[in-house]
């Protein structure tokens, strides 16, 4: 028999109390575990949402979007001034231009005009505005979109991914007349790495790589180094838009404010900040609930253990005195009582883990429904019709309905850890009481 095994045995001295305490501790450990699991699940989802939303801010000339709208262009110098703002990690400019087949370039467009192209043409061309809408479509070519990029990133070409299919990545900082062309454009014009085409009054441009951006529109265009494009298109120092990268999604808002302050009325500053906030807000509130519940459950467990141990220590004052009188040290006696507390909490933990396994997902579901019910009203849908308001509304919805706790083997480790923490917190004061018991008390009040 050792000190520890005596402690374990003592845990069963009063079976009714042991049973009761085990059940209550099981509830608190189980709750703590469920909260820990949902915290993990929610945090994982927050990270996914944040990374899917991206940490970039788009800066465009005030009143203009691509080739629509009007106003004055932004300059590279204006963009460069943003590099010194707090939390900004990178600023790249892009310049968009359109090459009309035959007149401007040797390239043919990879996209047929179709219904949408004709509709757009009528909208911008007063001649065709009166044309009957159901009439025959005129044949014309869509322009080839060329983007001067400061860095080869998906954001620079308005895509979510960008893969190099063959050749090398464009040297975006250079000034050579080279291009990385989209897959569709390459196929249409039989371009391979090393091929050349002409643009801007016969300038020869060499293909260094072919990319796949995962969408037809981007794949029908091409990228060139921004400086080359500025020179060729006679727009020195000008940019159509800038992409500002911020170190973290959480700093998007402050960065947007700083950029607006810097550029004033010259630019429109757009980020997915609102979408991010909307998608994450209900998750954050689940996180908060889970965190407080976790703390609460652990605290309740500790308090129960504490009160139980307090009761036990008071009950066994004389026994503690006897142990001291026959030569036990405070450390030995305390170890014995901590072992007893740990046995109680470990049994609670086993019960709690089993309960947690069964209840984790149902509880998470309850948390989710009660939180979405209060936060969906208006915040997801009302994006002003620009398209991604709705898109992110969908993400927000998915985020919540597909949330699932993952239960692995680490659950047992967590349960045991919770039990240990509870046992130690709950034994701290009783241990102090043990140390205070005067061994001479065994002589008294027999």
């Amino acid at each position: 028999m050792s000190t520890v095994s005596r402690g374990v045995r003592n845990a069963f001295r009063n079976p009714i109390r042991t049973g009761g305490v085990t059940i209550i501790l099981g509830l608190s450990v189980g709750l703590a575990l469920v909260m820990l699991l949902s915290l993990k699940a929610v945090q994982g989802r927050i990270d996914t949402v944040k990374s899917s939303i991206g940490n970039t801010i788009t800066v465009s000339p005030a009143g203009a979007r691509g080739f629509d709208g009007g106003g004055e262009p932004l300059t590279q110098a204006q963009l460069d001034s943003l590099k010194s703002l707090p939390n900004v990690t990178a600023v790249t400019g892009t310049l968009n231009d359109r090459l009309t087949p035959v007149t401007d370039t040797s390239l043919a467009s990879a996209i047929d005009p179709g219904t949408l192209g004709n509709r757009a043409r009528r909208a911008t061309n007063p001649d065709s505005a009166n044309a009957p809408t159901g009439g025959p479509q005129r044949t014309f070519s869509l322009p080839v979109m060329v983007t001067g990029v400061g860095a080869v990133t998906p954001a620079a070409v308005n895509a979510t991914s960008l893969k190099l299919v063959s050749g090398t990545t464009l040297d975006a900082a250079g000034t050579t007349n080279t291009a990385e062309v989209g897959q569709a454009l390459a196929t249409k014009n039989n371009l391979v790495v090393g091929s050349t085409f002409t643009a801007y009054t016969g300038t020869k441009i060499t293909v260094v790589g072919i990319f796949d951006a995962g969408n037809q529109f981007t794949n029908a265009g091409l990228m060139m180094p921004i400086k080359s494009l500025q020179a060729l298109s006679a727009q020195p120092g000008q940019v159509s838009s800038g992409t500002v990268t911020v170190n973290s999604v959480t700093n998007l808002e402050s960065a947007v404010i700083a950029i607006k302050a810097k550029l004033g009325t010259a630019a429109d500053v757009v980020s997915q900040q609102d979408s991010a906030t909307n998608a994450i807000a209900p998750l954050e509130s689940i996180k908060t609930v889970s965190t407080y519940s976790l703390i609460g459950a652990l605290a309740a467990g500790s308090v129960i253990t504490f009160l139980t141990m307090l009761m036990i220590v008071r009950e066994r004052r004389r026994e503690i005195g006897v142990l001291k009188a026959i030569g036990a040290s405070n450390i030995k006696i305390t170890t014995q009582f901590v072992s007893e507390a740990f046995t109680l909490t470990a049994m609670g933990a086993v019960l709690g883990v089993i309960g947690g396994l069964v209840l984790a997902n149902p509880i998470l579901k309850v948390l989710v429904t009660s939180n979405t019910a209060t936060s969906t009203g208006g915040s997801f849908g009302g994006g002003g019709g620009r398209g991604f308001g709705r898109a992110f509304g969908a993400i927000g919805g998915n985020t919540l309905t597909t949330l699932q706790t993952t239960i692995g083997f680490d659950i047992l480790a967590y349960g045991l850890l919770a039990a240990l923490i509870i046992a130690f917190l709950g034994s701290a004061l009783p241990a102090w009481l043990i140390a205070k018991v005067r061994p001479a008390e065994v002589m008294r009040g027999e």
Partner: protein, 242 residues
């Protein structure tokens, strides 16, 4: 040899100072069976707890073989209680959820004796105190008072202490059983050359001892000794015991 010099103990009880042991000096030679007698509240238990290092005196010295135990560090105090002292209480004070043999093994566990040796010695001791083999694994609640006190004596002897301190060891027993217990204590202590100091109300028992120390209001008034111990023994009970 146990030498007590000007031992003094006061308690602060709700603001009043209570003197429990008042300037007591005496000597107990090795191997002696000594009795402490006195009225209730005269300070007998307090004196015993000072001798057993369960409490610290207000002033004075308790010397065991020349070493003052009142000056020991906490660690050495625990060691002293563990190896030099065996306690026997009126209420037996066995650990209720341990069996008879486990109770006897307990002090040896604290002393670091191997499990096998603990068991052998505990069996041996319980046989010596006359507990039948079928009762070794019984819990104290299933033993009679006399049997419990036998187990308590075996426990007190476990680490071969130099000094056995017994506070009214027969107080809860009928006089016949009480006499058996005292005889047993006496017999075993003699065998190990262990000194016994026993608090008792029973003058019959006190008469059998080698030395009687009488307390009244915390002061030591009379000490009488059997023929083997020359008088006066209050300040120097010299050991000449056979």
């Amino acid at each position: 040899m146990l030498t007590v010099t000007k031992l003094h103990k006061t308690f602060n009880s709700h603001g009043n100072l209570v003197t429990a042991v008042d300037n007591v000096s005496f000597t107990v030679p090795d191997g002696i069976f000594a009795a402490i007698i006195g009225k209730s509240g005269s300070g007998k238990s307090t004196l015993l707890s000072l001798l057993g290092a369960l409490d610290i005196p207000t002033s004075g010295k308790v010397e065991v073989d020349g070493q003052d135990i009142t000056k020991l560090s906490d660690r050495k105090l625990i060691r002293y209680r563990l190896t030099q002292i065996g306690f026997v209480f009126q209420g037996y004070n066995l650990i209720p959820n341990l069996s008879a043999i486990e109770n006897v093994m307990l002090p040896m566990e604290f002393a670091g004796v191997s499990t096998k040796q603990r068991r052998t010695r505990a069996e041996d001791l319980l046989e010596q105190v006359g507990l039948t083999a079928d009762k070794l694994s019984r819990k104290p609640s299933r033993l009679s008072g006399g049997e419990q006190q036998r187990v308590a004596i075996a426990r007190a002897l476990a680490n071969r202490p130099k000094l056995i301190l017994a506070d009214e060891p027969t107080g809860n027993l009928d006089s016949a059983t009480g006499k058996l217990i005292v005889d047993l204590l006496h017999h075993l202590a003699k065998k190990q050359n262990t000194t016994i100091i026993a608090v008792t109300h029973d003058l019959e028992i006190a008469r059998q001892t080698d030395l009687t120390l009488k307390l009244a209001d915390g002061k030591m008034t009379v000490a009488s000794s059997s023929a083997a111990v020359p008088e006066p023994a209050v300040h120097a009970a010299k050991a000449v015991h056979a």
